[in-house]
């Protein structure tokens, strides 16, 4: 349990930070917010990397599946968000 409380603290504080920033995102950008947040939730890629390298066939296999999916999220998410945001222009 030694690790648990600090992690729980981080979790709760991050939720509050999330609420504070995201409330300020205008409806105009809600779609890029969703695709962009999908991209960063691809952070699971880190866990996937560790698991591919871990010992044991099953965990390597599961880790590989996770790695492919998480990479789709990271690459697809950031790229499609970039594409979308490039369209929001102001003339004049």
């Amino acid at each position: 349990m030694d690790d648990f409380l600090p992690l729980l603290t981080i979790f709760l504080l991050a939720v509050f930070v999330g609420f504070e920033i995201i409330t300020k995102v205008p409806p105009l950008l809600h779609t890029p917010l969703m695709s962009g947040s999908n991209a960063i939730s691809g952070i699971t890629i880190i866990g996937a990397l560790l698991m591919v390298a871990a010992e044991g066939q099953l965990s390597t296999l599961l880790g590989f599946g996770a790695l492919v999916l998480a990479t789709i999220n990271v690459v697809g998410g950031f790229l499609v968000t970039h594409r979308m945001l490039g369209m929001f222009k102001k003339k004049d």
């Binding site: 981080i10 930070v17 105009l28 917010l33 947040s37 599961l62 789709i72 999220n73 697809g76 970039h82």
Partner: protein, 465 residues
């Protein structure tokens, strides 16, 4: 690299993610924000690659990593570059699905790799497994419904649905207890994921097409929570921080969407629209003899004389892919000295912000895309409101009839403008399944036809006048 250095790198990456989302608070800073987020990700991945657990794992592990990244990167880049802006809800549904699945897989891999996991690890693994599989299959159902593949757009309801969902929820918790008590029995985790998957499907099929913005936002939140609980599995702070940011983001969007429909989250999740004791007026009674149909030429004359025109887009505009034609029409009117703005209802379309992206794609200046609360007071000074493919979000019944299924839903007050022009194929009802008295109002003209063709006709007619 030492562990401290790696943890510090993760911390920097977390800060970059937060700054990245912060960038999204304004379109001017948004592109930079997204790039900050992407560099944070790159940093985190590189830091993980150089740890001794990964680098020291031998060439076989590295080979698989390269293969996985190349495969995933290719699929991701292809999707991102090929997807049409109208299909963005499907894209986000897929990304939600993959995020959830990746978290459940990593948690399963940890369980398979460790001989005696701590209670924290096994409990968090259970959470990742349930949330991840619900997210994956729920998002696939959402994707299917949005694409119109196998499942109907309408809510799928059957007797005993709620008790069955409760039963499945309890079963998955029971299996969770088994996983925690006997982590070496991987069978239990497999069953847990199977039950979670079934639950994900059953929870999403009752959600109908126009409620998709809520479903997608909620699944977005789940995919974040799945990542956060995988962080507890791995004792990894950056997963926890990032997952909770995304979880919070999805929850906020869910709340905004529900508020914009004046419905509770429960009501949306149970697919209950039109289910309660609501009175629905007879369509014939509402429309008979009162609907005025106009030609493109008549509408063009109106637009030509208008000083202020407000365009109200809905899902129909996305279906007809008419956003570019709408922009052409607006440019033409602006060339004649008319002021043109766009009124965006929060739940117009199939996901939060859907209409904004489509109009931005068509090169509409984002300052002209106005939110409901800011544009509503201006309808009284508006000469023509041009409604393209929207229905329930402009139905005045929401204001007047407390027994209507959409009672209390905030709407765009288009009926207060001098003239309302509705471009629509027919008088068929919107998602709520109720007739719209706006179509029969004295100041409303119906321009029947396909969205794109009708706007093209309007453009031609305005050029002629």
């Amino acid at each position: 690299m030492t562990d401290t250095l790696i943890d510090l790198t993760y911390l920097v990456a977390s800060v970059l993610f937060i700054l990245g989302i912060k960038g999204l608070t304004h379109p001017r800073t948004a592109v930079r924000g997204n790039l900050l987020g992407a560099s944070g990700m790159l940093l985190a991945v590189v830091a993980t690659l150089v740890t001794k657990e990964v680098l020291g794992s031998g060439t076989q592990g590295l080979g698989m990593i390269v293969a996985g990244v190349v495969l995933g990167g290719t699929i991701g880049a292809t999707l991102a570059l090929r997807i049409q802006m109208t299909a963005m809800p499907e894209m986000v549904a897929l990304l939600n699905a993959f995020g959830g699945a990746a978290s459940a897989l990593v948690a399963g891999a940890v369980l398979a790799a460790s001989s005696a996991p701590s209670t924290q690890t096994s409990v968090a693994t259970v959470a990742s497994g349930i949330i991840g599989s619900v997210t994956f299959f729920g998002s696939l159902v959402a994707f299917d419904k949005l694409r119109g593949l196998m499942l109907p757009d309408k809510p799928v309801l059957f007797p005993g649905q709620q008790p069955l969902n409760v039963l499945l929820g309890l079963t998955s918790l029971g299996l969770g207890v088994w996983v925690v008590n006997e982590p070496s029995a991987l069978m239990s985790y497999g069953l847990l994921v199977a039950v979670g998957s079934l639950l994900g499907i059953l929870l999403t099929i009752p959600i109908g097409g126009a409620d998709m913005p809520v479903a997608i936002a909620l699944l977005n939140s789940y995919s974040g929570l799945a990542a956060a609980s995988t962080g507890f599995v791995l004792n990894n702070e950056i997963l926890i921080i990032t997952g909770s940011l995304v979880g919070a983001s999805g929850l906020i969007l869910t709340r905004i969407m529900c508020k914009a429909m004046n419905r509770s989250l429960m009501n949306v999740l149970l697919g209950a629209i039109g289910e309660e004791n609501t009175s629905v007026q007879d369509a014939d009674e509402v429309y008979a003899g009162k609907v005025k149909s106009a030609s493109a030429e008549e509408v063009a004359m109106l637009l030509d004389g208008a000083r202020r025109v407000v365009v109200v887009p809905g899902y129909g505009m996305a279906v007809a892919q008419a956003q570019h034609q709408v922009r052409d029409l607006a440019n033409l009117l602006e060339g004649n000295g008319t002021e043109v703005e766009y009124a965006i209802h929060p739940v117009a379309g199939r996901m939060p912000g859907h209409m904004n992206v489509l109009l931005a794609e068509a090169d509409v200046d984002y300052d002209k895309l106005r939110e409901m609360d800011s544009i509503n007071p201006s309808f009284e000074q508006t000469d023509v409101s041009l409604i393209i493919g929207a229905n329930d979000i402009v139905n005045p019944v929401a204001r007047t009839d407390p027994s209507s299924p959409i009672a209390g839903m905030p709407i765009l007050d288009v009926d207060k403008s001098r003239t309302v022009v509705v471009i629509k194929r027919s008088l068929s009802p919107g998602f709520a399944g109720i007739p719209n008295p706006l179509f029969a109002a004295d100041n409303t003209l119906m321009l029947f036809g396909d969205g794109k063709q009708a706007v093209l006709d309007l453009i031609a007619a305005v050029k002629d006048t």
